[in-house]
């Protein structure tokens, strides 16, 4: 009996693990990574976004499922002493720009309107696929925003417009109504970031912010060679945390909430999980940051016994391979046939008129020479 109990317990454990394995209900992962500020001194925001991009790509989400929006080009900025690079650690330890960055929205294309259109899917029909968030109701989406906001409740885009927390909440509600996500993780690294997720009201949203209302999110370290601050603290420690994650790791959201405590970040990171249906302890990091494919191992065998058709019909024509191509027609070109001919009525009318005029001017005496 003890043995069976042990066995049952063991089975239950496996089942529980299996249950956990299949419980999240998502089949694909998307990421929308947005940097909203431009100008050289906001280098760190671009570096933030690119480091999250790098982690997300490393953990398996392909470029086709990432919408990367960068409001300014730091790698090719004329003030960058090391062109084509964006560093996240000082002394140029880590270049997050890499060789295969695909930026989908760049420069002035990063606007509040475009961001909301990407989220809600209401883009003009001519928008290419790389600029669309083609998620469905089994998608887990990671949304990362970084930028500046001087006051409570909004995020500045490009120094000229802002997105408010109400707009963002409404956009997420539209996404929920249109079944555009299964679960959504929203991370924001900006001053008073927690104000941005205060207004959410749609289900299955989890939000993290780098600072509470009334606090400033601070930057981490300047690099003296480049001359600007390279990263913000929260994202810096987030990056360090994510560097330890690999696709098979079982770290869950509670570990993510512990990233960057007040001692390191100076601001207090906040999070919000009340709208999320599952327990955060059960949510794997790779549910959002990676693209873990569910692999089902089966022990069945399948018999591939359909007969193969032998290649018996060979070309028996005397034409050689080259002649079969249309190239042959071009090489041995006959003079072009004119396919269009003017209508007969036209020709008749025109020449009758010409003849009439001729005889009118030169007199009808020529007629008898012709007939």
């Amino acid at each position: 009996i003890r043995f069976t109990l042990l066995f049952n317990h063991y089975c239950l454990l496996i089942l529980a693990k299996a249950g956990q394995f299949f419980s999240s209900g998502h089949t694909n992962n998307w990421a929308v990574l947005v940097c909203t500020s431009r100008f050289w001194f906001n280098y760190r925001h671009v570096a933030n976004t690119l480091s999250v991009y790098r982690s997300v790509k490393r953990l398996g989400i392909p470029d086709s499922h990432i919408v990367l929006m960068l409001a300014d080009d730091m790698a090719c900025n004329h003030r960058n002493p090391k062109p084509a690079t964006v560093f996240s650690h000082k002394n140029m330890e880590l270049n997050v720009y890499g060789d295969d960055v695909e930026v989908d929205y760049r420069g002035y294309e990063v606007t509040v309107e475009n961001f909301l259109r990407v989220l809600t899917g209401r883009l003009p029909p001519s928008t290419p696929r790389s600029k669309r968030l083609l998620s469905d109701d089994h998608s887990n989406i990671l949304i990362y925003l970084t930028g500046t906001s001087r006051w409570n409740g909004f995020l500045k885009f490009q120094d000229s417009e802002e997105i408010s927390n109400v707009e963002l909440a409404d956009a997420f509600e539209q996404m929920w109504t249109k079944r555009r996500y299964n679960e959504l993780l929203f991370i924001i690294d900006t001053c008073q970031g927690a104000s941005m997720y205060e207004r959410f009201y749609s289900p299955n949203l989890m939000a993290l912010a780098s600072s509470q209302v009334g606090e400033d999110s601070l930057s981490h370290q300047p690099d003296l060679a480049i001359g600007v601050h390279l990263m913000d603290r929260y994202t810096f420690y987030l990056l360090e945390f994510l560097e330890d994650i690999h696709p098979a790791s079982t770290a869950n959201m509670n570990d993510l909430f512990k990233v960057c405590p007040k001692s390191q970040c100076v601001s207090t990171p906040g999070h919000r999980t009340d709208l999320f249906l599952r327990d955060p302890g059960n949510v794997l990091i790779t549910d959002f940051f990676g693209s873990v494919r569910k692999v089902e191992i089966t022990m069945e065998t399948i018999n591939l016994t359909a007969p193969m058709v032998p290649v018996s019909e060979l070309k028996t024509e005397s034409q050689s391979y080259v002649d079969q191509l249309p190239v042959a027609e071009i090489i041995h070109q006959k003079p072009k046939q004119r396919d269009w001919h003017p209508p007969d009525g036209f020709i008749l009318g025109l020449w009758t008129l010409i003849l009439l005029v001729f005889f009118k001017t030169y007199g009808a005496k020529h007629l008898k020479h012709i007939f």
Binding site: R338, D339, W340, P342, P343, G345, G349, L350
Partner: protein
């Protein structure tokens, strides 16, 4: 007379043949000064190719030639170079008829030197032919196979028929020229005046013979125009060509730079004012007809020259071929040489601008170190020089007429020498 003409013909054909075979033949049809969207050869080829594929050539913005051109080139497209050379030679025919000025002996004696001697007149056709065939502008236009040569030939035939006095043929050729591009409409007035003069019908509003002839000529002209337009309808069974050809000429949608004045203005204009300015610019071409006809009603041939010059300067898509047309007539007014005041300035400016056109084009488009303002400045200067040339000849002509009636050496009432001032 036949021998020098033949020699000239041979020389001209040789030059054109040599250029056709050289590498310049690929370069010249690309130049915007020589071809315009209305008469570019590659558009003709494109239109005919579209027709072979079963699509109307007027679909899209490629082809802006009239249907009769389609018919004409349908058969001769493989021999295009020869056709264009022949067109140039047709022009020669024009001046077989010599135009003697209708001068009577009632002029004062000291004007003898002003009257042209028959000996001079004898050589004018040769000079005109030389001016046309050996003009670099014409040669460029021919090598580029621009249908401007065809337009010029039709206008030349029209002038020939007018001068010969056959009103039917003149009406028909004028209708053909108008059908090709709308602007030769303004040549209606001088043709009418010349024919009236030839038939000794005075231009008097009260005389019935004047009205009779005018209505006759108008009907012939309008009738042939209608016949041509209807015939073109039957070629392709559609009226598309009206908006593609005449709509294109009048509303100037294509703003590729050329040597005219339209492109720069309309490139910068706000949409709100575009219609107004199109009307202003187009009226500018037709506007000078009436005042000039009133002033020059006894001299219709000169009026034809003035009109052609005005058309060439102010039309919506001018090319150097149009300029060659009126420059060919300059030898006919050799006798005005002594009264021309700006000949040095005009010739230098024209030469300099012709040389600067390709330079500034290169700087603007290829080197990127200039911009459209540079090219526009040269266009402006070129057109100003042309206007100066035309107005200079006008002044000279009027002055000669004045001298013919009042004597060459003008004296005031008290006997001292007077000078003539154009007011």
């Amino acid at each position: 007379m036949a021998a020098p003409l033949t020699l000239l013909l041979i020389v001209a054909v040789t030059i054109r043949a040599v250029l056709f075979r050289s590498s310049l033949a690929e370069l010249i049809p690309e130049r915007v000064e020589v071809v315009s969207p209305l008469n570019a050869w590659k558009r003709v080829v494109e239109g005919l190719a579209l027709l072979d594929l079963g699509v109307s050539p007027y679909a899209g913005d490629v082809f802006h030639e009239t249907p009769l051109i389609i018919y004409f080139f349908h058969f001769v497209i493989d021999y295009a170079e020869i056709v264009f050379m022949v067109m140039g030679c047709v022009f020669l025919l024009q001046f077989r008829k010599q135009k003697y000025a209708l001068e009577a002996e009632r002029y004062p004696l000291d004007c003898l030197e002003l009257i042209r001697t028959p000996k001079e007149m004898y050589y004018i056709p040769l000079k005109v032919a030389m001016f046309y065939l050996l003009n670099p502008f014409t040669i460029l236009s021919c090598v580029a196979k621009s249908t401007c040569g065809l337009n010029n030939a039709v206008i030349a035939l029209f002038i020939l028929c007018t001068v010969k006095g056959s009103s039917l043929m003149s009406a028909i050729f004028l209708a053909l020229a108008t059908y090709q591009s709308i602007y030769p409409l303004t040549l209606f007035a001088p043709a009418l005046l010349y024919l009236l003069q030839r038939l000794y019908i005075p231009v008097n509003w009260q005389r019935s013979s004047f009205w009779l002839f005018t209505t006759q000529y108008t009907f012939m002209y309008l009738g042939s125009l209608c016949v041509m337009v209807c015939l073109s309808f039957f070629l392709l069974s559609s009226w598309d060509f009206l908006s593609s050809v005449y709509g294109f000429i009048l509303s100037v949608p294509d703003l590729t730079p050329n040597i005219g004045l339209f492109w720069y203005f309309f490139a910068e204009m706000f949409e709100h004012f575009r219609l107004f300015f199109i009307c202003v610019f187009q009226i500018n071409v037709f506007f000078y007809t009436i005042p000039l006809s009133i002033k020059l009603k006894e001299h219709p041939i000169f009026l034809i020259f003035m009109q052609i010059a005005i058309i060439s300067i102010f039309k919506s898509y001018p090319t150097v071929g149009d300029i060659a047309l009126y420059m060919a007539f300059l030898p006919a007014w050799n006798h005005l040489y002594r009264f021309l005041r700006n000949i040095f300035l005009v010739s230098v400016v024209l030469l300099a601008c012709s040389a600067l056109f390709p330079v500034l084009w290169h700087l603007w488009i290829y080197a990127g170190s200039a911009n459209s303002n540079f090219y526009y400045a040269i266009t402006l200067l070129f057109n100003v020089a042309q206007i100066l040339l035309v107005s200079d000849y006008f002044y000279a002509y009027l002055r000669r007429e004045h001298h013919l009636t009042h004597g060459l050496y003008l004296k005031r009432k008290d006997g001292s020498e007077a000078t003539l001032v154009l007011k």
